[in-house]
Amino acid sequence: MTDRRIERLAALLVGYSLELREGKVLRIDSLDEGSPLVLAVYGAALRAGALPYTNVSLSGLGETLFQYGSDEQLTYLSPIQWEEVEQLDALVTIWSETNTRAFSRVDPTRHAAYIAAQRKLSNRRWERISSGEMSWCGTLYPTNAHAQEAEMSLAEYEDFVYAACHVHENDPAAHWRAVSSQLKARAAELGGVRELRILGPDTDLRVGVEGRSWLAADGRYNLPDGEVFTSPLETETEGEIRYTFPAVYHGREVEDVRLRFEGGRVVEAEAARGDDYLQSLLEMDAGARVLGEVAFGLNYEIDRFTRNILFDEKIGGTMHLALGSGFPQSGGQNTSGLHWDMICDLRREGEVHADGELIWKDGRFLADPALEVVESRVHG
């Protein structure tokens, strides 16, 4: 029998995240394992009058490319791909791995060469997304591989994923519309803050955010979603932070990361495990030692670490501060090849002060945002 949650997730993607209209061309990207959701999205898009088609791949092909491909084959982009990127009005990416560690033994320089080539395509795609020519949303179809990373059974993991997307109940779009106005109100309030001070175990960090825009991540680009984020002032980060969750970059984990910032730059860094990797990433380029993002995770359906950034960065009650590239749409100016989200759990003993005023304690904002102010601003 069809899992109703898959149907609801598909309808949410098509109707709310992408707002697909008649005649719009949608491509659905997935591995074969995600087929049930692919099919549901395909049907929902047809019913919305759109022109959907599927782009489904098989696990194992990527590894084969790394194993047998020449440098030229590894970095090849076909004319078909270039033509496609210009023609799409919307794109859904469904992550549905069969083995999250399949690339563990791939030569890192070959992996980097492949990613650099693919980035030419994705840069063009992001240009079109930023200018509003196309929409994009990334989501996940639960597989055993993802469940295994999360240390859950597949059935438990399905419950976790679908609750995080809020498709376990009827009318998830209404939920996300409400979340959207709350997050926007919160972002508007944070927009008036000059400096955040984050206090927690081995953590006392001051982050300057004056003049930067806070943005609400409300289910348009990711499902699940639920955060507010900005790019901090590049030279105004001071103090220490200890990341309680393992920091994962390209599948490799670094545990118990501690950083000390002076004048916006990391001046001391250590990790209990994976320290070499941490140091090498900090040396990637000049921007790698500077924060590109500070964000509050506000999805309280996500209550645990599952080794997947799509979920982890939104855990309700956490903050994440990413080293590396910032967001131009927030006013961020840091550029780097790195964007490494590291998550700090503030649910047990954490405080955040905004310009000296306590606004967050033990994983919650103390006051609800002034919704009506923003509503009137939006509609008025």
Partner: protein, 370 residues
């Protein structure tokens, strides 16, 4: 299929059928059950310097479109489909159905509309193949659905498919090359004649082939293979032909088909099963009522009917006629969104005449070239 069999099949498809070279863009077009073959093709294509590209259908998606699509959605072809057919140097299509009858309940008129929508793509494909710009092969990866149609277990069916491709021989490529030479001689011989007449149980059909080319099909465009084919002179087809085997086309089955031609066009069409669908296909467009292809099946490793045209039309001792589009390389002129092969068994008392002379009886050429 066991991995060594998959490997042998991939090796022949890449190395012999499509001769993939460095820099070739190679599109693989198939369904998820063929995944083991796709992975092996991927490796072989990379090894010879090609760029593999995958187009994988999602089970159930075509059915949703057929059932729920609007006119606009049904007549839309994704830009990537066109790009693939226009840009590829090589296409490898692999049948791997999970259910060969999934479309049995669909309105045949809607199926016809969908086929018409893909006609422009099909034309580009045919003309690029004919001009040699595009190398193309179609094959089959054994699935339970295909085995079920053949009344076989999957493992028996795998044996059958493997042997039909001569993949059990020491050097399959050499075998196919040798057969290709023999088929070529037969094609040359047939090319000297102006008129062919085929006679069998419920069949007496005459058509002209003057000026047309007979093509020897030797495992390069179909795999397995074994036929010589041409495009009859369009207005010359007269008489009746009865097809011995049921045929599955576009996910539904038709059996007991008899067609009567006058002046090149079907004037009477009957089927014991699926007649409404047959009529809808004949009404698809102007070319759908014409015989775009006629061929002799020559593969002696194929002896029994298994319900899939790719194999049935090559059974040694059969002929087949296709309703719809001709292959341009034969000189055939029929344009249609349809190309539907129907097979007629001539092994029991069937005969063929060339310019009035008996050349073929009980499924064999008299002056055996092959």
């Amino acid at each position: 299929m066991s991995s060594d069999r998959v490997l042998r099949l991939a090796d022949v498809l890449v190395g012999y059928s499509t001769r993939v070279r460095e820099g070739d863009l190679v599109c693989i077009d198939t369904d998820p059950p063929a995944a083991p073959l796709v992975r092996e093709l991927w490796r072989r294509i990379l090894e010879v310097g090609g760029h593999p590209h995958l187009r994988l259908d999602v089970e159930g998606a075509p059915e949703v479109l057929l059932r729920e699509g609007t006119d606009e959605q049904m007549s839309w072809v994704s830009p990537v489909r066109r790009a693939e057919v226009e840009q590829a140097d090589v296409r490898i299509a692999v049948y791997a159905d999970v259910n060969t009858r999934a479309n049995s309940g669909v309105d045949p008129e809607r199926q016809a509309r969908l086929e018409r929508a893909h006609d422009p793509i099909r034309r580009i494909h045919f003309s690029r193949v004919a001009s040699g710009d595009l190398r193309y092969v179609v094959t089959l990866y054994p699935t339970q659905a295909a085995a079920q149609d053949a009344d076989m277990s999957l493992s028996d069916y795998e044996d059958f498919v493997f042997r039909a491709g001569l993949l059990d021989r020491d050097d399959p490529r050499a075998e196919w090359e040798a057969l290709g030479r023999a088929y070529g001689l037969l094609a040359d011989r047939l090319g000297r004649h102006a008129e062919i007449r085929v006679v069998g149980d419920g069949t007496d059909l005459t058509f002209g082939v003057e000026g047309r080319t007979w093509v020897a099909s030797d495992g390069r465009e179909n795999f397995p293979d074994g036929e010589v084919f041409t495009g009859p002179v369009e207005t010359s087809v007269d008489g009746t032909i009865s097809f011995s085997y049921p045929s599955s086309h576009a996910g539904r089955r038709v059996s007991g088909v008899q067609l009567e031609f006058r002046g090149g066009e079907v004037v009477r069409a009957e089927a014991e099963e699926g007649e409404a669908f047959l009529r809808e296909m004949l009404a698809l467009d102007a070319g759908a009522r014409r015989a775009g292809e006629f061929a002799f099946g020559l593969n002696e490793a194929l002896t029994e009917f298994t319900g899939h045209t790719l194999f049935d039309e090559k059974i040694g001792g059969t002929v087949h006629l296709a309703l719809g589009a001709s292959y341009p390389e034969t000189g055939g002129q029929v344009q249609s969104a349809l190309h539907w092969d129907l097979v007629c068994d001539l092994r029991n008392g069937g005969e063929a005449y060339a310019d009035g002379e008996l050349i073929y009886r009980d499924g064999r050429f008299l002056d055996a070239v092959v």
